[in-house]
Structure formats: C-alpha cells, structure tokens
C-alpha cells in the first residue's frame, strides 16, 4: 500500500473517539438549546393565553 494512504488509515481508529465526541457534543449542545427554547416558548405562550383570558374576564366584569 502507498505509505501515505497507510499512514492515513493507521490514524482512523485512534482518532475515531475524538471525532465521534466532537460531533456528538456539538449536536448535544445545539439540541439542548433548541429544546430549551421551544419548551420555554410553549410555556410562555400558555401563560399568555391564561392572562388574556383573565383580562377578558376583567373587562367583561367592568362592562
């Protein structure tokens, strides 16, 4: 085998854990952030609809 290719192939196994860790951790960070934001958004939207109902009730009472 060509010595350059042989050198490249010889690094595959030792470097694999670092490459897998790099991709996995990066995806994890992005995923956790997106999940946190989407959950927070849904929670805030629910709070907003409850508040809007309360405001509507108060307005109805005033009239």
């Amino acid at each position: 085998m060509n010595p350059v290719l042989a050198e490249i192939y010889s690094t595959i196994l030792p470097s694999a854990p670092f490459i897998i860790a790099a991709y996995a951790l990066m995806w994890l960070v992005l995923l956790i952030y997106v999940v946190m934001v989407v959950r927070g958004l849904k929670k805030t939207e629910a709070q907003m609809s409850i508040l809007e109902e309360q405001v509507a009730e108060l307005r109805a009472q005033k009239h």
């Binding site: 350059v4 490249i8 690094t11 991709y23 992005l30």
Partner: protein, 257 residues
C-alpha cells in the same frame, strides 16, 4: 406617521422572520446532516497538508497533500466559528443601536444574539479542542488563534455575568452594550491573528493550498445549514423573550388594577 414607521421597523416577536424560524431550524438540521454524511462519504480523505513537500501519485491521482480522519472535524468547526462571529456582529450592531436610541428592544436583540454566539462559541471550542487533543496531543496550547478565541469566549461570559449583577435596567443595558462592542472588536483580531502572526500553528486553509471542490462543497453545505440553524434559533429565542416580557408587563398591569 413617522413614529408609526419607526415602531414598525423595531424588531418584534411575530414579525415575518418568525414564520420561517421553525423551518430554518429544520432546514438547518437537514443540511448539517447532509453535510455530515458528505464529510465522511463524499469529501476525499487525501488532499490538504503537504506530503513531504512533494506531490505524490495516490490511486491514480497526483496528490500534493494528505488529510487525516481528524480533519473531518473541520467541516463543522469552521461553520460554527463563522456563525459565532456573525451572531457577535449582530449583537454589536444592536448594541450600537441601543446606545444611539436607548430603546430597550435593541438591548433584548443584543442579549439574544450574544446568547446564540455563546452557544456557537462553545461548539467551536468543543470541536477545536478535540481536534487539538488528537493532532497536537494536548488539550490546550497558547496558540494566538486559540488565545484570542478564548478571550472572546471570556468576554461573552463576562457579558452575562455583568447582566446578572446589575439590577437597574438602563445601566445594565448600557454596560452590556459596551461589553458586546468590545467582544465585536475581538472578532477581526481573532480572524486575522493567524495572518498577523505567521508562527501560529493553527491551520489556515488558504495558506495551505485552499480547498478542493469536494471539500468546498461539503463545507458550503455545512455552512448554510449552520447559518440557518443560527438564524432560526435566534428568532425562536427572541420570540420567547419578547413574549415573556409581555407576560410580565401584563401581570404587572393586572396587579395594579
């Protein structure tokens, strides 16, 4: 009329970018997944740094350089770093706008942009550090690029620490805007440092012969994916923060009545 026009130009949750934010995140996820597959299945393993300074015939091709498997980290490392710089540019812009107008909305925009930049800076650090550990055998080295990027990360962390310590909204926004602009000043230094200090051991794509078509295509797909992800994440978070502010304002109003 002029006031109406001004308030219309102010960034707000529910504007047209929010309609595409979710799809941008989805498209970003799809494109980065395609980019990931391209990095391993499409981009060749042999082309990049020099092969004993001389081109060599490998697999019927004249190859002037070789890339080890660890180089696959580059396809995501560079795009996340660029998105972190982009988010900082937006944060800097909104900070300047805040200092000019004293409108809290711009402070909110800058805060969210800084948050996005921190997420991408962390991703850059993770990918870069794992590459460094394998290629250079150390977890950290005081290379100029690494050092300036670490300073950038520390400035961003300092931004959030500062925000947590100051209670008065206006003072908090002014100090935060200044820190955000300082972070932006570090961006071109960080970008150009490998050119200004040639002894830097951080790889530079152009200095080392540029990218071949397959590498360029792969990094391009990852870059578009990451930009879409960054944009979508920014808009989703901005919408959430604005909604939370409105909920708080409504609660305060209800309590007063």
């Amino acid at each position: 009329m002029a006031n109406a026009k001004k308030s219309h130009a102010l960034p707000e949750g529910g504007q047209w970018p929010d309609a595409i934010a979710f799809w941008a995140v989805l498209a970003g996820a799809v494109l980065t997944t395609i980019g990931f597959l391209m990095a391993f299945l499409y981009a060749g393993p042999v082309n990049g740094a020099s092969v004993d300074g001389m081109p060599e015939m490998i697999g019927g091709q004249m190859v002037s350089s070789k890339l080890l498997l660890s180089q696959k980290i580059f396809y995501f490392h560079m795009p996340v770093a660029i998105v972190s710089f982009g988010a900082l540019a937006f944060a800097g812009y909104y900070s300047v706008r805040f200092l000019m107008t004293k409108n809290q909305r711009y402070d909110t925009c800058a805060k969210v942009a800084m948050e996005i930049s921190l997420i991408f800076v962390v991703c850059t650090m993770i990918t870069g550090d794992l590459w460094t550990r394998f290629e250079w055998g150390v977890w950290w080295t005081w290379d100029p690029r690494l050092t300036t990027y670490l300073i950038l990360m520390l400035i961003i962390i300092a931004y959030f620490v500062l925000r947590g310590f100051i209670d008065e909204p206006e003072r908090r926004s002014i100090y935060s805007a200044v820190v955000s602009i300082i972070a932006l000043v570090d961006v071109p230094i960080c970008l150009m440092i490998t050119r200004m200090i040639p002894s830097s051991i951080h790889p530079v794509v152009l200095r080392e012969g540029g990218m071949t078509g397959d590498m360029g295509m792969t990094v391009g797909v990852c870059m578009i994916g990451m930009i879409l992800l960054g944009f979508g994440m920014y808009r989703l978070r901005f919408r959430q923060v604005r909604l939370a502010q409105r909920v708080q304002a409504l609660k305060d109003e209800l309590e007063e009545n």
